[in-house]
Amino acid sequence: MKPAKLPSPRDAHEEISALIETLHLTGQRLEELTAGEVDAVADRGGRTFLLRHAQEQLRDSEAAKQAAILNALPAHIALLDAQGIIISVNEAWRKFAGANALQGPQYAIGVNYLDICDRARGDDAAAAQQAAAGIRSVLAGGAKSFSLEYPCHSPTQWRWFLMTVTPLAGNHLHGVVVMHLDITERKRAEQKFKDLLEAAPDAMVIVNRDSEMVLVNAQAVKLFGWHREDLLGQKIDILVPERFRGKHHGNQGGYFEKPRSRAMGSEPRLDLFGLRKDGTEFPAEISLSPLETDEGFLVISTIRDITERKQAAEEIWSLAKFPTENPSPVLRIGREGTILVANQSSAPILATWGRRVGQKVPDDWQKWIALAVESGKCKDVEIECDRKIFSCILTPILSEQYVNVYGRDITELKQAMQELRESERRFSELLQNVGLISVMLDGEARITYCNEYLLRLTGWRHEEVIGKNWFELFIPPESNDAKDVFAAVLASLPTAWHHENEILTRSGEHRLIRWNNSVLRSGIGDVIGTASIGEDITERKEAEAKIAFLNRVYAMLSGINTLIVRVRDRDELFREACRIAVDTGGFRMAMIATLDQSAKKLVAVASAGKDEELLTAIKTILSSSEDAPKTMVARAIREKKAVVANNSQTDPRVLFGKKYVESGVRSMAVLPLMVSDEAIGVIALYAGETGFFRAEEMKLLTELAGDIAFAVDHIGKQERLDFVAYYDELTGLANRNLFLDRVTQYMHSAAADGHQLAVILIDLERFKNINDSLGRPAGDALLRQVAEWLTRRAGDANLLARVGADHFAAVLPEVRQERDVARLIEKSLEDLVNSPFRLNDAVFRVAAKIGVALFPDDGADADTLFRNAEAALKKAKASSEHYLFYAQEMTAALAGKLTLENQLRQALDNGEFVLHYQPKVNLASGKMTSAEALIRWNDPRTGLVPPGRFIPILEETGLIFEVGRWALRQAIADYLRWRNAGLAAVRIAVNVSPLQLRNRGFVDEVRQVIGIDARASDGLELEITESLIMEDVKHSIASLEALRAMGICIAIDDFGTGFSSLSYLAKLPVHTLKIDRSFVIDMTAGPQGLALVSTIINLAHSLKLKVVAEGVETEEQRRLLHLLDCDEMQGYLFSKPVPGDTFETRFLAPHPVPAVS
């Protein structure tokens, strides 16, 4: 690269300005282009240039960081320049600088800190001047750094500061950093340590690594006799005697290598000595402990003067050496009995003997001395002198031919023994009287000792007990382990030291005893028997057991109550309750039995516990009609209260007590489960303990039984609710929902198996009449009987349902041929009619109509199938058929129904309906008295349509209102026309449909129709079917009264088909009674039919009613009716219904000509 030619200064200046301008603009442009989102750019050489704003920001943040760090420090920090002027301070300085010593009004930036320090006065002046000097020396480069600790106590606070001065920057000295750090806490800790040291009872010296004393306490000053100032900073050597110093140095070096605490007396040494200021030495014991401090490693040395202790030890030592000073007598006696030596302490013995040294001991002593010498064995002799007793050991020293006598003062020992004997006597007395059994047995378990308490407890006399075998007399035969324990005691096994067992009293009562056993040994250590102390814990155990029992019952109660809240199923409730009784309640076994109401038998429905055999036995006895009533279970049910046998082994009420005992059952309780004051069952609990069921337990258990019964009741109600949702409550058969569910199920298998299925709907004929005349309870009773009959017939109630008031349904899940279904239905219908049902002591026969739909032809789902069966039933009801299948043609017929409905509307509009009239004839006179108007439809396409085809449609569609109104008007119009024409017009009877009569506006409508002419009412009679009137008697009576008041005659149609109540018949405001054609037909069939018609006629006459017989077709019938005094007749015999004009010419003409068409 060639250096560019240097431009002239002026040009250069301009060029530089231009370049700067360009650079500035470029920079700005770059910022704009990058939307300020770029920090750096690089040139082609890879050099990176930080853009200006990034540079500034980085700089700012760096400075901010440093300031933040400084501000975060707790120390008060200031930067001074070379002259000592404050150029920067941190937050802490700003806030708290006033707290340190070097305060002044001007401590902020720009102030000369050295001047402030120099000017300081008062308490802090010394520290301030020291500080100024330190700062100057660092500034001058004389010191690398400077630090100073100074106190700065305010009136309320004791405070210390550490000031440090460090140079700022490295090469050139620009200034210093001054920092004041609050070290009060540290100082406080140091002071506390010093206080502790001063308060210590021992002398303490703290030494540094250089063996210089840095601290000594007051005790040390006192012990060594130096002034404190003389010791501080001195080597420890001045406290160590010169002869030990070398060794001491070695020890000290070793200690600093491996410092550890050495406690006082842990390594007792007698060769440690301390050196006092006055040059005297004292024996010392020294402990050492290391101390790590800011000022380095120190050793705390604790020194104790043990001069006195040492002296005491030496006294003992000397006593041992010199028998003369021995406090015990020591004598030496020659073999012939001469006293050779006697120490001071032997004086009392010599006095007792009345001898001195050199004289012979008394005779008996001479004898013992000789014996000892001869045998060479020691002999022990006691001698009482004055108030002291000495035990003397005669020790023959055979080689010297004399005997040393060592006496020992045993006065106190003797006294102690005396006291011990006394205490033993007292103890033995205590044993006699305390509430504890004390008994001793020999190795054969014969009683060698017993105290009064055992006798009192058991009722035996002393002489009856001593020498007897313990086990034979006191241990119940069934306790097998007692002898094992005895053997274990004899064998000194620790396991046998304590045990519990029962003992028998004289009267056979059991007492539970807790024993403390020990083995008795002879003087030579042979086992000779046992000694036992026993505590009667019968009552305590009972109390404990009681609590344990109650706890078990409580736990069980809690468990079962939790269960009751959760459980929704009766079987689960029983099962779980039994399980909890056994698992939680700790019962051997639990059982719940319920009373089967229909069979009056108890059935065990749930149980828990291990013993299957016992349970089987219980079940067997419950199912036995002979034994069951004797059981406690049966008694609990009968008496409605709990039965308890607290000892099932002996209780005579427990039928097989022995079996219970074999199963570990000792007591039992049977509690009745009461629902609405009835015992519906029992819970029986079998405990493994005798006497488990006491008042408290029974109270809780009764509560428990109540809770279970409550749950049973609750579940029962819940089940009933479920039942109502799926069952017909009256008959107990399925309801429609459940039936459809079941049909769906059967349809699945039918589809899978490829066979047919039939849904049969059964309608009870004239059931409504039974309900109306005999009341609902009777109706309900009949329905129940029919349901039972159907169930018997079907063999399975699940195939049946009650789907409406008098509708039953049945499903035949498997149909091979339709013929089979038809045969079944025919047979069933025949049987049904021949089955008498009894209601209120009367016999009823029920007939039915049936509709059948077949799967899969008549519907692919249960709903459709059911609806189609309904359609078939409806058709059957409208026809004379007793049963009908839903067939394809029928579907077509239904489809045509809509068309028919339209045609009927048109017929009404087009006047296609006509009235035909059928005369009623007086039986006596043979003259026509009135006529019945009958609606006919003259279909222009097909001709006259029979009423059975269109009347039901009119009823269904409500057209009957309009058609009925038309018929009424037409009849009146015809009547008036005939009458106005001067013809012998007769009263016209118009049939009233059930829908019309139920309509509240009917009476007004009639009133309106007859209102057109005053004579209209004379010509009108209304025929109303018997069953129709009975459907709503009250309303009927009111309507009929109103009609009669208008002068209209009223006839009861089809009399005998309903179940009219005679009492109502009398009240009905009717004029005429029309006997149904079926009676007329039956009349000639036998005497019964005749009697019936006769009764009806007589009844009607007694009620002042006119009687008309319908459907009279034969002369025979006419003759009989006449004979029976029937008023009128109507029927083919006289005339079938004829069109109005025919009626007019044939019957109303002045000379009517009877004609048979």
């Binding site: 770029v38 920090d39 690089a42 890879g46 920001q57």
Partner: protein, 96 residues
């Protein structure tokens, strides 16, 4: 492009400079929100490793280089506009 493709980013920054710091923060937040568990970020400081910037032809920082999935793309700036980034990464249809 598979939904589960791994995104590898290399972000060139200029030390602690503000736009760079923001770009790092934005990229991290973006990845957590839109590419959870399928991203890797490498941050290159052009002051520490100027040769890498030169080798990859990075002339402005911050610059984000999308290494995978291909093609390699670059986005200069603080990555503050999420929509822009989504678009550049071809993620807009998925995220929408």
């Amino acid at each position: 492009m598979s939904r589960r493709a791994m995104f590898k980013f290399r972000l060139f920054v200029a030390g602690d400079a503000p736009n760079s710091a923001q770009a790092i923060a934005n990229l991290a937040a973006f990845c957590r929100a839109h590419l959870p568990d399928r991203y890797e970020i490498e941050v290159v400081d052009v002051f520490r490793e100027p040769k890498r910037a030169l080798a990859e032809g990075i002339f402005m920082t911050p610059t984000l280089v999308v290494l995978t999935p291909p093609p390699v793309r670059r986005i200069v700036g603080t990555l503050s506009h999420t929509q822009t980034v989504l678009q550049a990464l071809g993620l807009l249809d998925i995220a929408a």
